[in-house]
């Protein structure tokens, strides 16, 4: 059981405000770990820091398959196989979704020494993946996320994950804002992308996603660190009793 991602003593602050306070986490190859925790605990911050977003003062160590992740630019991390499904995907007006996706895929393929896909090959490559999240091909012709509903944006994120085939997928509340059917589609879509050589870090507030995408481990992130870890049953217990139980257990 080799670790894909090893986080040790990770701290992060923004404008002098400390958000991550010495976080440790190990994610083995091929496993799915869920991260739960109260609003404002630092979950999105963790996702952003892992993906290399600017603006954080970061210390500690993060290794991806042994390589120092914190040294890399965001695009280098993406090329190394880090994918972040954003909690709030942005619009890019005037940039076609398929053009965007193809540019991204080809940037990554190029770095892997693979030949770039032309528009026609890309369509073939994408079609089956769109079916996975039940997205209509018309979305390819629209601008990136422009005018997409909240649920459509989240599906588009999973579509991108299916296209880019990362080895580390970080899903930041990909299940929030979805109606019941969309939640099932997204959860099943993500679950079908599970692979022996792909690990996932799934940030969520709800058990329902984890019913489909059953995690190997559930972590609770509170006050900037992992305060508790357990099996899938931990998520169920939290759903029933809330984060109050953590205090009772005095896990800090």
């Amino acid at each position: 059981m080799t670790a894909l991602l090893e986080i040790e003593g990770l701290t992060a602050s923004v404008e002098g405000k400390q958000i991550l306070r010495g976080l440790d986490l190990e994610l083995p190859v091929g496993e799915v770990h869920a991260i739960m925790g109260p609003n404002g605990a630092g979950k999105s911050t963790l996702a952003n820091v892992l993906a290399g977003r600017d603006g954080y003062e970061v210390a500690g160590s993060v290794r991806l398959a042994g390589a120092d992740l914190l040294e890399m630019s965001p695009e280098e991390r993406a090329i190394a196989g880090v994918f972040l499904a954003f909690q709030y995907p942005v619009e890019i007006p005037g940039v076609g979704n398929s053009y965007f996706l193809r540019t991204a895929l080809n940037a990554i393929r190029k770095a892997r020494g693979e030949t770039p896909l032309d528009a026609i090959d890309f369509m073939a490559y994408t079609k089956a993946r769109m079916a996975l999240v039940e997205m209509d091909p018309s979305f390819l012709g629209r601008s990136v996320n422009e005018g997409f509903s909240g649920g459509e944006r989240k599906r588009n994120e999973i579509l991108q994950m299916a296209i880019l085939e990362p080895r580390l997928a970080i899903l930041d509340e990909t299940d929030s804002g979805l109606d019941i059917d969309a939640l099932r589609i997204v959860a099943q879509g993500a679950n079908s992308l599970r692979r022996d050589d792909r690990s996932m870090l799934v940030i969520t507030h709800h058990q329902r996603l984890l019913d489909e995408l059953v995690p190997d481990v559930v972590h609770v992130l509170a006050e900037g660190r992992i305060v508790k870890s357990g099996g899938p049953e931990l998520a169920v217990a939290l759903e029933e009793s809330g984060y109050g139980i953590l205090e009772l257990e005095g896990s800090r």
Binding site: I92, G94, L105, A107
Partner: protein, 487 residues
């Protein structure tokens, strides 16, 4: 706190690092030129006119314009600082010494052809393939017009302005100044007095011009101003698509470019005028560069349509408002603009749509992009006269800022005298989003490619109005200018 500030300023210096992409067209060609003495007075105007063998009426028109000009003063409402211009310290006429009257391309001076090759303008056979007829104006004189014969077969006249004065004096006399009278403004008066050459284009009744027409302007001589004049007349039911491109050598001082473009679209005619402007913008410290002060206006008669599309990336200062007078009922005016300013460049541009006829409609889409310390101003006037029953206008002007030191200003003026008019205005200013950049980079797209992608997306509504052949050119130009505008 300090770390964050450092991070931001570190970002900026990275932005600046990329900055130096050289102006590719900054060479000076060693072509012998015939110049008139420095300065401006009636004798100079007489000299210019006689060098060009002009008829008496045209000299008279120039002199009237000159006299009007001497009573006028430079406008002062612009949104930028302008050092006083010494109009006596300028050369008003410089023509390449080789005879401009050429019949075939093969006769063009080899130096000049080499220059055109450097510019990427193939006056020769390549253009036949792309089906674009080109007139090239260097400094003051028009040196070559390709495809004149093929065009003549369908009755289209496309030639240098001087040739038009010589060969079609009645047409020129009839239409010159009919859309932009010399009294219109300070620079149009100056241009009317000293204009040296330019292009003339006449599309007769019912003719669809079989190819794109295109003029390339090039300023080569030092200390010259360039004052070209373009006149396009499309008769009833005629249509034409016209493109203008421009470059200039790098020089330390500012050179004045004060052109006039007049378009007359008679009943049912359709004229599309596209500009890809890449005059020398000055260096990264704001030294030198072209002052591009141009008057462009079209008049659309009944059911006629005039469409301006401009991609403005060059010049130290761009100051112009391609406009349409919607004279006839049901006439249509359009203005699509991308203005990209970097370093110390300024663009104060926009349009003026004057609705006179009934059910006239106008569309304005302006996209301003500023980086470094550049300033970008959209200034527009939509004027609906009492007579313009059922007039409609839609205006959208968006600005995109790259970095923190540049500026965008939107100055829309609306004057409506007819209550049935519908005028709609939308404006947005956005900073190129950190969020958008991060989103792209997270997907593996490099920062530079991401900036270019976001900017092109921002300009899409304008680029789709350009003739197909020029979309690639405009995109490349934009990329070249953007390279280095952000880290």
């Amino acid at each position: 706190m300090t770390d964050l500030t450092d991070a931001i300023s570190g970002e900026k210096s990275q932005i600046e690092q990329f900055a130096e992409r050289e102006y590719r067209y900054g060479f000076v060609s060693d072509i012998e030129a015939d110049v008139v003495p420095r300065g401006l007075n009636e004798d100079i105007i007489r000299l210019i006119s006689s060098k060009k063998d002009e008829p008496e009426w045209l000299l008279e028109w120039r002199l009237q314009a000159y006299r009007a000009w001497t009573t006028m003063t430079m406008p002062e409402w612009q949104m930028f600082h302008l050092d006083p211009i010494d109009f006596q310290d300028m050369i008003y006429y410089a023509a390449p010494k080789t005879k401009p009257k050429l019949e075939s391309m093969d006769e063009v001076d080899p130096e000049m052809r080499e220059m055109f090759d450097k510019l990427g303008i193939s006056l020769a056979e390549q253009k036949r393939l792309s089906g674009v007829a080109v007139d090239a104006v260097v400094d003051s004189a028009s040196v070559a017009t390709t495809f004149r014969k093929q065009l003549a077969e369908v009755g289209v006249i496309f030639c240098s302005f001087s040739a038009a004065v010589r060969d079609h004096p009645d047409l020129v006399r009839r239409y010159l100044g009919s859309v932009v009278p010399f009294r219109d403004n300070f620079f149009s008066a100056l241009n009317s007095a000293v204009f040296s050459d330019g292009s003339f284009c006449f599309i007769p009744k019912g003719v669809k011009c079989p190819m794109e027409l295109s003029t390339y302007f090039r300023m080569n001589q030092a200390d010259t101003g360039q004052f070209e004049r373009t006149l396009i007349v499309a008769e009833e039911g005629a249509s034409v698509s016209y493109l203008e491109g421009c470059t200039a050598p790098k020089r330390d001082n500012n050179q004045l470019h004060a052109a006039v473009v007049e378009i007359l679209a008679l009943d049912g005619a359709d004229v599309k005028y596209s500009t890809v402007q890449n005059w020398y913008p000055g260096d990264a410290q704001g030294k030198g560069g072209i002052h591009n002060f141009v008057t462009k206006r079209g008049k659309a008669m009944e059911n006629a349509k005039i469409s301006w599309t401009q991609v403005e990336t060059g010049s130290a200062i761009t100051w112009k408002y391609p406009s349409v007078i919607l004279q006839g009922d049901n006439s249509v005016g359009e203005f699509y603009s991308v203005a990209l300013t970097t370093h110390y460049q300024v663009a104060d541009t926009g349009t003026k749509m004057t609705h006179i006829g009934k059910n006239t409609s106008s569309t304005i889409v302006s996209k301003g992009i500023a980086t470094h310390v550049a300033q970008n101003v959209y200034r527009g006037l939509v004027k609906v006269l009492r007579s313009a029953e059922g007039a409609r206008n839609f205006t959208q002007c968006d600005s995109l800022l790259i970095g923190d030191s540049c500026g965008a200003h939107t100055l829309p003026y609306i004057e409506v005298k007819n209550s049935s008019a519908q005028v709609e205005h939308e404006a947005y200013t956005s900073k190129i989003g950190e969020d958008q950049l991060f989103y792209c980079r997270q997907r593996g797209i490099s920062e530079e490619d991401a900036v270019s992608m976001i900017v092109h997306g921002f300009c899409r509504d304008v680029f789709k109005e350009l003739p197909m052949e020029y979309v690639v050119e405009a995109r490349n130009l934009l990329n070249m200018k953007l390279e280095g505008s952000i880290g």
